[in-house]
């Protein structure tokens, strides 16, 4: 009779420990400095977060002010649904209505300020090679994905963005009430003259967008199909996330004065953080 190799605590421990080194498509690299291919101009030692999120997966991290986060659509069917909150005061969170209204612009582009509900800048878009994004239509729900694909649970084959973001929020002590409106990257929507939305899909493999944290930032990201994605089959491919140490936007940066509304947002943010001893 063959004894099972995991029949004893010793055997189970040896079995568990032998698994290290397994490589799968979607996994974190820890420490991030081991990431093999840092962005141009970024020292490997400055990387603070490196992970690949599977289609239908999620990621989340509390990030220092000044951190740069690059999201990359590896094979062309990622869709990053992003919720931003203040890491230290999470009742202040992304407000897509203010983000678009204050900028007089609904389309995401380099220089966009992702504003909170408190007249401050949570993050800025500093680089974008995609141009296919959406700040209007939000993420998917379990009920809608069940109706469209037959399942919307977080662990199922077609997870809803709200389910994934609720899990990410929960891991920071937050609940579903904290999962407010979101923006998404890599799956574009335009608005026609009659007000009708048109889904424009992705910009193809390899497109990336880089965000800069302007405050202590909690970033929650769900990688799942866009709500207006018309394809019958749930389609979502891996998302790469890299973060590195950096500096927040300062008064000498052209973005600080690019628009009067933005300048006042930066000024409000700086004053708030200075009073807290953060800036």
């Amino acid at each position: 009779m063959n004894a099972s190799p995991t029949a004893t605590t010793l055997g189970a421990r040896q079995h568990a420990r032998a698994q290290e080194g397994t490589v799968v498509d979607a996994m974190p690299t820890v420490p991030a400095s081991r990431w093999p291919d840092p962005p141009d101009g970024v020292a490997a030692a400055d990387l603070t977060w490196a992970t690949v999120v599977a289609g239908g997966g999620y990621a989340h991290r509390s990030l220092a002010r000044g951190t740069h986060v690059r999201l990359r659509d590896l094979t062309g069917d990622a869709c990053a649904h992003v919720l931003l909150l203040r890491a230290d005061e999470p009742w202040e969170r992304l407000n897509p209505a203010d983000t678009t209204k204050v900028a007089w612009q609904v389309y995401t582009a380099p220089g966009q300020l992702l504003l909170s509900d408190a007249g401050r800048v949570l993050a800025t878009v500093v680089e974008d090679t995609s141009g296919h994004h959406d700040a209007l239509f939000g993420t998917t729900t379990r009920a809608r994905n069940e109706a469209r694909y037959g399942d919307g649970s977080a662990q199922g084959p077609s997870p809803a963005g709200r389910e994934l973001l609720a899990l990410a929020a929960a891991k920071h002590g937050l609940g579903r009430r904290d999962v407010g409106p979101t923006v998404s990257f890599f799956s574009g929507v335009t608005v026609g003259p009659d007000g009708a939305p048109r889904w424009t899909g992705s910009a193809g493999p390899g497109a990336h967008v880089t965000l800069r944290a302007e405050v202590p930032l909690l970033l929650l990201v769900a990688n799942t199909a866009h709500p207006l994605d018309p394809r019958e089959a749930f389609t979502c491919s891996p998302l790469e996330v890299l973060a590195w140490r950096g500096e927040p936007t300062g008064p000498g940066d052209p973005l600080w004065t690019a628009a009067p509304e933005g300048r006042r947002a930066f000024e409000n943010t700086a004053e708030h953080l200075t009073a807290q001893g953060i800036a």
């Binding site: 009742w91 209505a97 209204k101 204050v102 612009q105 389309y107 509900d117 809608r144 904290d178 409106p181």
Partner: protein, 224 residues
């Protein structure tokens, strides 16, 4: 004074018209004020823009479970335009139906522009506006009476507010399309709490630079 007398005569005329229905509530919400009400499933709420071009900032919640709250994004996902009008189903954050627009005399309303706040006013107009009254103040004050707080505020509806999106993505609050006495009617698809800010904004055209009262009429549904 002229504006006030116009409002009174409009309200009287409309009250006569609705007298054949069972009026559960018929109130005028003063300019700049908050308001809230709970509607039972099937009841209807008529919002009357008494003096014309008065933005009515509007949030709604499942009365039994206010974590189920209005979602502008879910509402827009389920229709083929960014504007709200007759037929629009106002959905919650889990995609369920809260209310339906069953009549609309204006043609289109906004759910992209969000609510004005003291904080965002400083960005849009300058720091001299930091002390002005704003919709978020109304939402917070009225919401607190129902146990709701800042975490429960999300992108809202702006009845009677005109927010076009240009081909280049430019979005802005521009002169309104409404007129004195125009109204819209909503049917509750389940028991709902509605939270209203009669918008006090004076720095853009959403209220014609002059906030005015609006009328709220709740009736039993099922009318022809």
């Amino acid at each position: 004074m002229t504006a006030t007398s116009t409002a009174t005569s409009t309200a009287t005329k409309t009250a006569t018209k609705t007298a054949t229905k069972t009026a559960v509530l018929d109130v005028v919400v003063p300019a700049r004020a908050p308001w809230s009400a709970v509607l039972s499933a099937g009841q209807e709420l008529r919002v009357v823009d008494l003096e014309g071009n008065q933005a009515v900032d509007f949030l709604l919640y499942d009365a039994a479970d206010p974590t189920l709250r209005y979602s502008a994004q879910d509402t827009l996902q389920a229709q083929d335009t960014i504007f709200l009008s007759t037929g629009s189903v106002l959905r919650d954050c889990e995609h369920g139906a809260l209310m339906t627009v069953v009549a609309d005399e204006v043609g289109r309303h906004d759910t992209l522009g969000g609510a004005c706040s003291q904080e965002s006013n400083t960005l849009r107009y300058g720091h001299h506006t930091a002390g002005q009254h704003a919709c978020v103040e109304n939402f917070l004050a009225e919401g607190s009476l129902h146990g709701l707080g800042k975490r429960d505020l999300v992108s809202n509806i702006n009845w009677f507010m005109n927010v076009p999106v240009d081909p280049d993505g430019s979005l802005g609050i521009v002169d309104g399309l409404s007129a004195p006495g125009k109204s819209l009617t909503l049917r509750a698809e389940r028991d709902v709490l509605v939270l209203v800010s009669n918008c006090p904004q004076v720095n853009n055209p959403c209220n014609g630079f002059d906030p005015t009262p609006v009328r709220m009429v709740i009736t039993e549904g099922g009318r022809a």
